[in-house]
């Protein structure tokens, strides 16, 4: 099949799945924050509130779409477009798995495999700053302008330690392409410890990946700051700056900013997974780890069936057995040979990225926010020197041992 048609197919699939995943990421966030705060979260709309994103989308689409008369219309309408398009570009270079063969067509599980893949994600997040800055300025509103300027200054301040923290594992893998970076993390040492970024031993005498833990922590902190999430939430906080740079936006444009924020979160978590946690590679060698995904799904299915049979709420009699059957079906799919090389790497990648996204949501539910001057001092006074020092240490180790 020619390249163009195959790319169109992959593009349609990735776009559809990504946009649905963004909507359901909001559901996951609301449920997790609710359970952390010992309440239930949305549970009215579908079984366990699963139709809540659909209903929210309909609500946002049918709300009155105001364009206030005092705004600069061209930039007011262009700012969410810039924010969303730059956030969605990053998914194009993120691989979901190794080379697969479907119906006789061999292809990589990735939209495009640029040999500067990491730089594309950094560039996209750099240009995404304009969405925020223009949104703040075009709204013709003091609070929005201040929120926009603060947000853009924060984002460019934390881009520098982010780039340096990303450069540290790239020194070890020797490539800028994400697929090759994951392939450089294959293999196991001592028989069962995976060669992931943070445990990397490779051909060196001692695991130099231990020092990548610092880079990983730096990367996570800068990732929180880049996506404007708590604890670096000040530019868009509701009670600090009257919702900051998106105060004059309503309905779908407001939803566009939220979609851009979640898409940025997913991109950065996927980047962190590929660079530090080994992408789609399993934690212990292949024939044994192939049983872990079906085991997890089968366990979940059996638990749902058990609780469905001994139900507490009346509606659980109908919803939980359905979930149980679905989970058991997915477990069976993971064992089927034609789908196994696709689904098993995808499971490991999604579970690691999902764990990082859960960490995002967990931190949001737990920590207070930084004040703006504390935030900037933290970036330039602590993150930047530590990331430069970390790069120096990793460079010295790579030169000495690899």
């Amino acid at each position: 099949m020619n390249f163009f048609l195959l790319s169109l197919l992959k593009l349609g699939l990735v776009a559809f799945v990504f946009l649905t995943a963004l909507a359901y990421l909001q559901w996951i966030e609301r449920k997790v924050i609710a359970h952390v705060q010992v309440r239930v979260g949305p549970n009215r709309v579908g079984p366990h509130g699963l139709l809540q994103p659909l209903v929210d989308t309909v609500k946002l689409l049918t709300k009155e779409d105001l364009v206030p008369s005092h705004v600069n219309k061209f930039y007011y309408l262009g700012a969410p477009i810039i924010a969303v398009s730059m956030a969605l570009i990053g998914i194009a270079v993120i691989p979901f798995g190794p080379k697969i063969e479907v119906f006789g067509i061999e292809t990589y599980m990735q939209l495009t495999d640029l040999n500067i893949g990491v730089l594309v994600i950094l560039a996209a997040s750099g240009i995404g700053v304009y969405g925020v800055a223009l949104a703040g300025w075009s709204s013709n509103n003091k609070y929005a302008l201040l929120g926009g300027l603060r947000a853009s200054a924060q984002m460019i301040s934390y881009e520098l330690p982010l780039a340096l923290a990303v450069a540290a594992p790239l020194l070890i893998y020797n490539t800028l392409s994400l697929r090759q970076a994951v392939e450089a993390q294959q293999g196991y040492w001592l028989g069962f410890i995976p060669n992931w970024g943070i445990f990397y031993k490779g051909a060196s005498a001692f695991p130099i990946g231990i020092f990548l833990f610092i880079a990983f922590v730096l990367f996570l902190i800068c990732a929180f700051a880049e996506t404007n999430r708590i604890p670096f939430d000040l530019p868009e906080a509701e009670n600090e700056l009257v919702a900051g740079f998106h105060v004059e936006y309503s309905s779908m444009k407001f939803a566009a900013f939220f979609m851009a924020e979640y898409a940025n979160m997913v991109n950065i978590c996927a980047l962190g997974t590929h660079l530090f946690l080994g992408g789609w590679l399993p934690p212990f060698p292949a024939p044994y780890s192939d049983f872990v995904p079906p085991a997890i799904f089968a366990l979940g299915g059996v638990m749902c069936l058990y609780h469905g049979l001994n139900y507490i709420r009346a509606r659980d009699k109908y919803t939980l057995p359905v979930f149980g059957v679905i989970f058991l079906g997915i477990a069976a799919l993971h064992l089927a040979p034609p789908l196994k090389p696709i689904l098993i790497p995808l499971f490991w990648f999604l579970s690691k990225t999902g764990f990082l996204l859960f960490a995002y949501i967990w931190v949001r539910a737990t920590l207070p926010r930084f004040r703006y001057d504390q935030l900037m001092h933290f970036a330039w006074g602590w993150m930047f020197p530590v990331s430069v020092g970390n790069l120096f240490v990793i460079g010295a180790l790579v030169a000495a041992f690899l």
Partner: protein, 168 residues
């Protein structure tokens, strides 16, 4: 395909440059300059310079122009006032003469090199990946690299000294 892409992005860069020098408001000028830089990044990609294209987007369009925009928004720079006197002849003859002059300049540069010599196709780029640039940067060009890092340090010190509040 190369020809179509070059035509589109060359036209876009010239259009954005013309918009930049013709707009009244500095924010519009800044955004048009970002458009120029984006089109130039695509042209660098067509020339096989993948690392320079990414560096242009990250450094120039993603950091320097954000700095410009922040300063423009902070200083609340308004539109330029209209010039107090404008001669009719200048306006009538000016714009077409600029187009003629630019066209003549482009044409003269174009015919100065025989065209059979070098064609730009994306597949024929011989060097330009990050590995090549890095290899040359840290072996042959190590001294300029160190000197520019000292230069950036001096620039940071200068900017901090200029922009801080006066001590009593």
């Amino acid at each position: 395909m190369d020809v179509i892409l070059f035509a589109i992005f060359a036209f876009l860069s010239v259009a954005c440059a013309v918009i930049m020098i013709a707009q009244k408001h500095p924010v519009s000028s800044a955004l048009s300059l970002i458009g120029v830089m984006g089109s130039l990044a695509i042209l660098y990609l067509l020339l096989g310079a993948t690392f320079i294209a990414a560096a242009q987007l990250i450094v120039y369009a993603g950091a320097i122009m954000v700095l410009f925009l922040i300063v423009i928004m902070l200083l609340n720079a308004g539109e330029e006032p209209k010039p107090s006197h404008q001669s009719l002849i200048a306006r009538l003859l000016g714009a077409p003469l600029i187009v003629v002059f630019l066209g003549a300049l482009g044409f003269i540069i174009y015919i100065s090199i025989p065209t059979e010599e070098t064609k730009v196709t994306f597949a024929a780029a011989k060097a330009g990946s990050a590995e090549d640039v890095g290899m040359a940067l840290f072996t042959r060009y190590l001294l300029p690299f160190e000197i520019t890092s000292v230069l950036v340090l001096i620039a940071i010190l200068g900017a901090v000294v200029l922009a801080r509040k006066e001590m009593e």
